[in-house]
Symmetry: D2
Subunit: 339 residues, 4 copies
Amino acid sequence: MIRIGVVGYGYWGPNMVRNFAEAPGAAVSYVSDLNEKKLELARRRYPAIKTTTDYTDVLADTDIDAVVIATPVSTHFDIAMRALRAGKHVLVEKPMTTTSKQAIELIEQADKYKQVLAVDHTFVYTGAVRKIQELVASNALGDIYYYDSVRINLGLFQHDVNVIWDLAVHDLAIMDYTMKLRPRAVSAIGVSHVPGKPEDVAYLTLFFDGALIAHIHINWLSPVKIRRTIIGGSSKMLIYDDLEPSEKIKIYDSGITMSNGDENRHNLLIDYRTGDMLAPQLKLTEALSVEAQHFIRCIEEGEKSLIDGEAGLRVVRMLEAANESMANYGKVVELNIKR
Amino acid sequence: MIRIGVVGYGYWGPNMVRNFAEAPGAAVSYVSDLNEKKLELARRRYPAIKTTTDYTDVLADTDIDAVVIATPVSTHFDIAMRALRAGKHVLVEKPMTTTSKQAIELIEQADKYKQVLAVDHTFVYTGAVRKIQELVASNALGDIYYYDSVRINLGLFQHDVNVIWDLAVHDLAIMDYTMKLRPRAVSAIGVSHVPGKPEDVAYLTLFFDGALIAHIHINWLSPVKIRRTIIGGSSKMLIYDDLEPSEKIKIYDSGITMSNGDENRHNLLIDYRTGDMLAPQLKLTEALSVEAQHFIRCIEEGEKSLIDGEAGLRVVRMLEAANESMANYGKVVELNIKR
Amino acid sequence: MIRIGVVGYGYWGPNMVRNFAEAPGAAVSYVSDLNEKKLELARRRYPAIKTTTDYTDVLADTDIDAVVIATPVSTHFDIAMRALRAGKHVLVEKPMTTTSKQAIELIEQADKYKQVLAVDHTFVYTGAVRKIQELVASNALGDIYYYDSVRINLGLFQHDVNVIWDLAVHDLAIMDYTMKLRPRAVSAIGVSHVPGKPEDVAYLTLFFDGALIAHIHINWLSPVKIRRTIIGGSSKMLIYDDLEPSEKIKIYDSGITMSNGDENRHNLLIDYRTGDMLAPQLKLTEALSVEAQHFIRCIEEGEKSLIDGEAGLRVVRMLEAANESMANYGKVVELNIKR
Amino acid sequence: MIRIGVVGYGYWGPNMVRNFAEAPGAAVSYVSDLNEKKLELARRRYPAIKTTTDYTDVLADTDIDAVVIATPVSTHFDIAMRALRAGKHVLVEKPMTTTSKQAIELIEQADKYKQVLAVDHTFVYTGAVRKIQELVASNALGDIYYYDSVRINLGLFQHDVNVIWDLAVHDLAIMDYTMKLRPRAVSAIGVSHVPGKPEDVAYLTLFFDGALIAHIHINWLSPVKIRRTIIGGSSKMLIYDDLEPSEKIKIYDSGITMSNGDENRHNLLIDYRTGDMLAPQLKLTEALSVEAQHFIRCIEEGEKSLIDGEAGLRVVRMLEAANESMANYGKVVELNIKR
């Protein structure tokens, strides 16, 4: 039985508690939050769980095997480092940290004693994103031409992070998991419309070797909610619309076919293909439930998580570069993810 | 009776002929095209119209008052300049020319003898774009925060122009007509996925003074067709979806309201508003028909066209700057539209 | 403080418990269910609530003021009658009873000692249905021409009730609340595609005095889920799509205008109007929460519920008549709701 | 070369002329219409075509091989009978005639001299309806459970025919072509909301042997346009949405699976299946063009049309029965199509 302590019982923490409470082989023993009222809620729902306003109580509890961190991003590094040093396995909400330097330190600390360090890139555990990863990995789409995502809505302004760190982080996590290539450089343009607040509308471009390009539109000021990713490949193209209740993934047997014309070999002929569209059935299991079970198995079997510190670091590095580019009017920032 | 000659009877020319043929006060007398088969089609539909494979015949015909140019963009300048010099009024398809220098020369030539020089920014004559212009002009949307457009489909590759010149030109024309502000600089990123062919996927950003930002996604390699513009304002927001059969414009009484908190005057409070959505009835008259009648009236009354050479020039200047930026990895290019 | 006992903790019961637990002025004290495992769930979530497998324990508890019945329809009458006789106020799930005779007996029993008898027509408490009721009541739609509803999905076959009793009951409850007129007669056609099971596809027509007609399509064998009601009026028309996340009600300023032609007074001229479409903002409070508070206030103030036994009876009478008609190949069955 | 005369140049006639003019092996030689202005239009577009206001001129022209009749339904019988007697092959718009008696007379007349008698059930020649027919014929859907169609819009009131004859005729023609079974009886309910005008809202039910049921909702007073047919089968289900620009047919691998439970063989277990959805690519050729070529080939090779007089008769018989049922409050009317 893996005993879990959850730090942070605000928006996301209750989902973590619920999913770990229901996961076979695990139990949630301790919950901490700065807000006593939140803890009151937790106790009412789960009378057997201990609560505290001081998260170091959780780390000091020798019964606890692993700590789930669902607090504001600026606190991730401190809590995660202390948890690792206290010998706990760690699952930390995304983005992993506020700097890549912090992410590297956490990875190194976890590696020292082979503790599990996992980052909560939740979408990676959905049936839809799993399907995309399979299609790309099996070359069903052919060479990937572009990855275009729109993630916009009338959204809660965050005080501490901009719209890229709030929303694009999902796309970067999905892209990092599904694409075979890693981006080489980043360009970002963003605008703030509320004095003193972070950017609320932004456009993020990622450059890869070859002709692949990725682009993400994120926006807290949209009258409608859109969650739509288009991935164009040389063989097929797909649309992933997370708001569709049942047909989240549509695969189009459409594209272009190139051939050399007879008369002039310098002149490529381009043929258009439009064909069937298939919306494959997707697994409907709640992503967080899959993720919780995966985290527990990693602990039990001493394995790395599918989304380990390295994955978390790659995403943080992209976010960092995006901020640097945005401060410089869209200047292209190389990623240099190697360390 | 204004007598019209139409140069170019390919994709768009027949629409021009049909609309001018039906416009009160005008008659189409002459059609030219390099392809004799196209002329055969024209004669079969309009037996009374003269045809020629040499457009200079049209210019030499003293009965002709005005020339409509519906040929590839690289030929616009020559044909338009000769037509102006031959004393004809000119309506030229968009983009007006391949360089802003050419556009300026045409404007100067037309100004000399007060000839009408109009550019065919067709969408400006639709009920939907008229409504947007009214809403912006009357401040119904408040301050404009952003203009975001997606214009993508599995599209015909052009041989001579890239996807920005083919598709974004529509958005630039609409934006130029509806926004009160003029863009200050442009950044564009684009990729070609077919060796030797122009860019087929591109992202265009336009910077304005203040916090307004415009962004256009154009793509010839999309499995689905999307034509959707979102305009966010401080009072209201609207969505213009040109593929909607009846509700092309939706106006959302949504947004954010800022107020100073009592305790800390540095701390802005942000409230979200969501309210009614209104899809106003739009005029359904075919845009080209409105445009043809407007062009005729300008000739009759010696007035400037709503979309005159200056409007055409502004759009060409943006396209030119987009190409320059795209060649330099998204470098910001100032517009300096003054001349 | 009104003390509530809930009988039935299956699909709907937990929603009842949650909403009454959160309603000011009320507390859920007792829950009964035949299934001990369900009670285990209830105790885990609400440790303070007493549980029992014998609902008569709830009725015998003198602390309990009101009983909420969320059990299969065949048991409603017995439980409700015993609860009323035990002096409890009653809120019973829809459909109220299996026969109109039973419904009448419950009404008479409740009237005797002025107990509150309410039927859980949940949709009536949504912002969308409230808005429809207002629009009809204020004559904003003009004379109502038709009420057409489609409520279909790949649905759980019920063992004891057919698709009309399972799904159309919602439409009948909404219609009963929003329309000013009462239906005069019913015709129903239905088919069962699984031997020995109740009808899974059915069409229900309701006739009113005048030209109003209502029609409901219900179906457990549809590949897609649809919840869409169209109400046509002489002034305006509306569409209520319950699956729309934000624009559930759309009001169209469309219709026909009749006038007498000048020359021939027997010849009505019909003009078509299409105009603006408005999607009004709706209250988003959870319907069951509104309903729970309304039920509590009725008890506190000794008032009739908005959806009292009479409303429940009218719907049961329509369902009864639908079954009779369906057994007779769509024969028109008069309603004679008077008693 | 088959020489065609077209009688009627109103709404549909020009489409007929255009498609026969472009069909290989055919030429349109003569057009008649009572309205001289319509003929003026025809002459302007097709200078080589003869025109007349007296359709008997067309029948008297010995150069004419076949007559296409695109006039109001009440005139179909007379014109078609005279055309057949004049030795012409006939293609008549739907509905074929106003009575089944008339349809039978036309069939008998055409059979006498083996003239081609075809009825213009245009939708049968679309890629979408062809695909449905293939899927049903190959048993890909399994046993058909139901056929449900909604065909509504804010429509032009017809003076002479009700909404069933105007709109449901399309569904009946599609159903007659795609279903293997023939309906046994009809029930229809309809209402008129304009004094003195025909029914503008109607519901039509068709009964078959076995559990198949068909239902059609037609409405001239709907604020939105819907063209959607759902066909449920024991193996798969499909949705045909004629307003979808590209995915008109969606095939769902969804349904129910029945098996006998082990313990109690009287108790069927029902399992739900949801699976992939496939939108197959459809042929995009204009239906009327396919139909024109088919009609010409039938004449050239002396064959029956796919949609011959018998198909036209079956649809007229259903329309007739619908009128009879509607006049009797939905009474079930047997079809007895045999003759």
